[in-house]
């Protein structure tokens, strides 16, 4: 049970909702609502914006592919005992 009430996308102001479109493009998946983490990060675009850009920069194809990096991210999440 989350410690906060996760707002529906429609409750966010328009600038924040634009982040959800970027999120949809990133995941290339049609969620009923934007993923919980996307909605959390959109709570404060001044934090979520640069944080998301840093993540996307790190995850972009380079010496390692996006797929390889997704697996690294999963391993890091596992090492952090995070089920999300």
């Amino acid at each position: 049970m989350p410690t906060v009430r996760l707002r529906d996308a429609s409750e966010y102001p328009e600038p924040a909702r634009r982040l959800f479109e970027l999120s949809r493009q990133w995941f290339a998946y049609e969620f009923k609502e934007p993923p919980a983490m996307s909605r959390v990060m959109a709570w404060d675009p001044h934090f979520g914006g640069p944080h998301g850009r840093a993540m996307k920069r790190a995850m972009a194809p380079g010496e390692f592919s996006r797929a390889e990096k997704e697996m690294v991210a999963a391993a890091v999440s596992g090492a952090n005992a995070c089920t999300y």
Partner: protein
């Protein structure tokens, strides 16, 4: 990377990496001295030779191991049969299969960094470089590790439930023939 076999391989790398780090970080630094390669019994020396070959005997990574044999192997070499089995598992885990050794080493580096393993972080960083990964590639893995170490703690603090776990296709194939 939709097949389960890739994820099994990744899990084995993560597990055995943690196993090596536990011994190296916990028992290294003089707590339990490694077996001296120069005076090792024949059965241990045979395994040490394989290890040197796998990692390269004159690399920064090998030197980090306290000589030509990485530290955790030297420490567990006090039981030759145990060393042989652990080494066989490590070699199998890191050998190129569905995932490349380079990618597996990146996984090991990321997990070692995440778990604050001094040995594992330095060792697998040296291995990444030995395998040809440039500073840009190293920084990519550091970036992924750092940003997802942030996401995971945000998710845990807010106790979020996963809403992305079921978006990947299910692998309905059977268990592969490991001898193939």
């Amino acid at each position: 990377m939709t097949g389960d076999d890739s994820w099994y391989e990744a899990a084995f790398v993560v597990g055995i990496t943690n196993a090596l780090n536990v011994v190296a970080d916990g028992l290294g630094g003089g707590v339990m001295p490694p077996v001296d390669p120069d005076t090792a019994p024949a059965d241990v020396a045979t395994v040490f030779a394989e290890i040197r070959s796998f990692y390269g005997s004159a690399t920064p990574g090998a030197r980090l191991g306290g000589g030509q044999v990485p530290k955790p192997f030297g420490i567990i070499a006090h039981d030759a049969a145990y060393l042989a089995d652990v080494w066989a598992a490590v070699k199998r885990a890191f050998t190129d299969r569905r995932l490349t050794r380079r990618h597996k080493t990146a996984l090991a580096f990321a997990v070692s960094l995440t778990t604050r393993s001094v040995f594992g972080t330095a060792f697998h960083l040296a291995e990444l470089r030995r395998l040809g990964v440039g500073e840009g590639g190293v920084m990519e893995i550091i970036g992924v590790t750092q940003t997802f170490s942030s996401y995971t703690k945000i998710a845990d603090t807010l106790q979020l439930s996963s809403d992305m776990a079921d978006i990947a296709p299910v692998d309905t194939s059977g268990v592969p023939d490991a001898s193939a």
